[in-house]
């Protein structure tokens, strides 16, 4: 088993395009790390550098205690699990799992042993003699995983292995892969563009944007303590509500004027987490409020309520309702937001809203308390949970 270390790694293509900038982080032995980011962020390039499928322009890449910059993919002792896999319909599950070892001239006894071990781990023992068509979609995915497991590599590299599956199976497989990695205790680097996948699977998540590592942290830390506006906007579904606001004095503490005529008192707990915001009185900053950090007006103080917000849309999801309320807050229109949204149409809409002087906020409600479309609501804000960022650099004001 082995750790994977990126040590000041850069990737510059012959035409001068730089895909990775000074990437440094470590995947510890047995750890499951997810690389996530929007398209073009460099996550797949980073993974492929580990696999030996992209040359490293400068810096060092280590697997275990070996610098592998110049080793071929074969010499690196890693198993790459792609989104593509094919099960052979006439071969048994056992043969489907073990055939690559046969090609590598591993003895029959050893193949049998490794296949049995892998099958046990994957819950496939009773299916070993069956044909793939007798298996469910999830079991077939496990057979594909089994192919990688029997190789007993130092590390697994997974490049969006679930992206080809339907939504239901994808959700089921997320849990299975995470549990399997936990049982296998093999260092794993997993790439996805899906931040929900990232947040639900890994020990830690590395967020990238335009070739630059933005933050590596546990899912909880990323969610609760984003380093910058990009991470704040990218991580979380539905996304964090972000707006420009002016920091003002408010009683003994500070407040934020989030839209004309609407100032909210900021709880000291928030300024304790973001102490630099205290130096920004009189300045505009970016503030973030997650959809679940709103409350009924009666549950917060009067000076923490946004009043008179028209309900534009109600998404009833069963266990919760997501209510889109119109506000006159100013959206953040920046390259960070463009990257975080990763959808040109949606970003154009944000720009349009900015020009029109408002944007909707998404508020999470219990279904029984959700308002209806067309109503006007007052919404309490748990201001102890507000996030603060520099409006220009996007950095958290910590």
């Amino acid at each position: 088993m082995a750790e994977i270390v990126f040590d000041g790694v850069n990737k510059i293509y012959p035409d001068g395009t730089q895909a990775i900038f000074d990437l440094s982080f470590e995947v510890a032995d047995k750890e499951f790390v997810i690389l996530v980011g929007p398209s073009g962020c460099g996550k797949s390039t980073a993974l492929r550098m580990v696999a030996g499928l992209e040359e490293i322009s400068s810096g060092r890449l280590l697997i275990g205690d070996r610098v592998v910059n110049d080793l071929s993919p074969k010499e690196r002792d890693i198993a790459m699990v792609f989104q593509s896999y094919a099960l052979y319909p006439h071969m048994s599950v056992a043969d489907n799992m073990g055939f690559a070892l046969k090609l590598a001239k591993v003895s029959k006894e050893e193949i049998d042993r490794r296949v049995r071990d892998a099958a046990e781990m994957l819950g496939l023992t009773e299916y070993l003699h069956r044909k793939p068509k007798a298996l469910s979609g999830g079991q077939r995915q496990r057979v594909a995983m089994g192919r990688a497991i029997v190789r007993s590599p130092q590390a697994y590299l997974m490049d969006e292995p679930l992206s080809n599956l339907d939504a239901k199976l994808r959700v089921a497989m997320r849990g299975e892969i995470a549990a399997l990695q936990d049982r296998l205790e093999v260092t794993t680097l997993y790439v996805t563009h899906d931040q929900v996948e990232a947040m639900t699977m890994g020990d830690r998540v590395a967020v990238m944007k335009l070739g630059v590592l933005q933050q590596v942290a546990s899912p909880t830390d990323l969610y609760e303590r984003p380093h910058n506006l990009f991470v704040a906007g990218f991580i979380g579904s539905p996304a964090m509500n972000l707006a420009e606001a002016e920091v003002v004095r408010h009683g003994d503490g500070i407040g934020i004027t989030i839209q004309d005529g609407m100032t909210l008192a900021v709880d000291p707990a928030a300024t304790d987490r973001y102490p630099k915001v205290r130096d920004r009185v009189g300045q505009r900053v970016a503030v973030g409020i997650r959809p679940e950090h709103f409350a009924a007006p009666s549950e917060v103080a009067d000076d923490r309520v946004m009043r008179g917000l028209p309900v534009a849309l109600v998404e009833a999801l069963g266990s919760e309702s997501l209510v889109h309320v119109d506000t006159r807050t100013r959206p953040i229109v920046s390259e960070d937001m463009r990257a975080a949204i990763d959808d040109e149409d949606a970003f154009e809409e944000l720009k349009r809203q900015a020009a029109a002087g408002g944007q909707p906020f998404v508020v999470r409600y219990e279904p029984s308390r959700a308002p209806r479309h067309g109503e006007t609501v007052d919404v309490g804000v748990r201001t102890e949970r507000i996030h603060f960022f520099d409006a220009q650099s996007g950095l958290a004001l910590r």
Binding site: Y13, A51, K74, S84, D95, S163
Partner: protein, 439 residues
Amino acid sequence: MRLQLTARTGHPDFLDLPWDVPLAAWDHPRIVETPLGIHRHVVRTVRYEDRLYHLKELPRRYALREWSFLRHLREEGVPVVEVVGVATLRDDADGDRLDACLITRHLEFSVPYRLLFLRREHQALRDPLIDALAQLLVRVHLTGFFWGDCSLSNTLFRRDAGSLAAYLVDTETGELHGELTSGQRGADLELAAERAAGELLDLQAAGVLDDAFDPVAFGVDLRDRYDRLWAELTHDEVFGPDEQHRIHDRLRRINEIGFDVEELELSRGDGDRTRLHLRTSVLEPGRYQRLLRELTGLEAQDHQARVLLNDVRNFGAWLTRTEGTSLPEALVARRWLERSFEPVLALVPSGLRGRREPTQVFVEVLGLWQRWSAEQGSDLDLLEAARRYVDEVLPRAEEEQLVTEDEAGDEDVAGWVPDALATTGALDRAEVARRVREG
């Protein structure tokens, strides 16, 4: 119902298809069953008059990638299936979004590998298959494309004189680079060797492939063949001042394997030795196909083109002898078309035209003409040889567009039989059924 469909001109608009229903559930008169390889996605085939189109349902981003990759590779001269459309933003009746669908035109006279093994002697297939796959992978890599999914299932094969020509079918996992690193090429080749071996092991498990056929050795030989071809095309050659002929030798060898070289890079280092370096981007495959097209307008596979060009040259020499004067090459080619190629093909009755591609018919007639002429000790008339071929050989040749009931032992092929019998357009169902019964 929402639908966005991008289709190339020269093909149907496909708007009569039930796009608001998942592809697997289509029950539509245009659907025909065809033998396909092992696929991760739902793939169905539709028929518009005499043309077949394959539809593959997959997530939108992969469909759009594959759409652009297939078009790019075709522009680069790589043998790939022709992509003609992509349906995206498909909504079902409830407004829920369905996966996208990629539309490719069926490659006529092509067969998947499983059918090849059902039809032909297995050991005789081995080397042509390896050559075709290695050649295809090299051509793909020369364009800077990492396939990521090279396998027999993702390839279609066509007759090419006595060899096979391989066509790339599936690119959804590919990546386009300026130039591939050796690591990328090596990994792609490793994957190809592993998958091909897996597919052949599967054929053995199905009882289709002889036990004497060694799938593992097939994978090993595929690697060797690829490495040799790549080295011949790209290795740097260093030679002394009195060895200029080695440039010409090298170019001749490259031409012989079907590539043209657009430019050379020669550099002189310390001493008098010169280094010849060939950049992969200046290697242009399809030399003989291009020459044949320029000369005659005919489209052919690589080995077919070599045979036909050779015959045009022989015909020119014969014309010079009989007319006492040397004619321009273009004129020779025109007369060859008028006096040899077209009259031979005109002898093939419409009922037998589904058995071989026209250029393959001519190549096979030439081969038999040479054999029969040698046997009788003097030149047989070419048209006489063609008549014998049409009477004695072609009726016994298997339909390239059909399968027989005997071939349907493989379950992937079995489901295809009823509809496939009617796919030639040249035969009605009753006639095909009679032929199948009579073998």
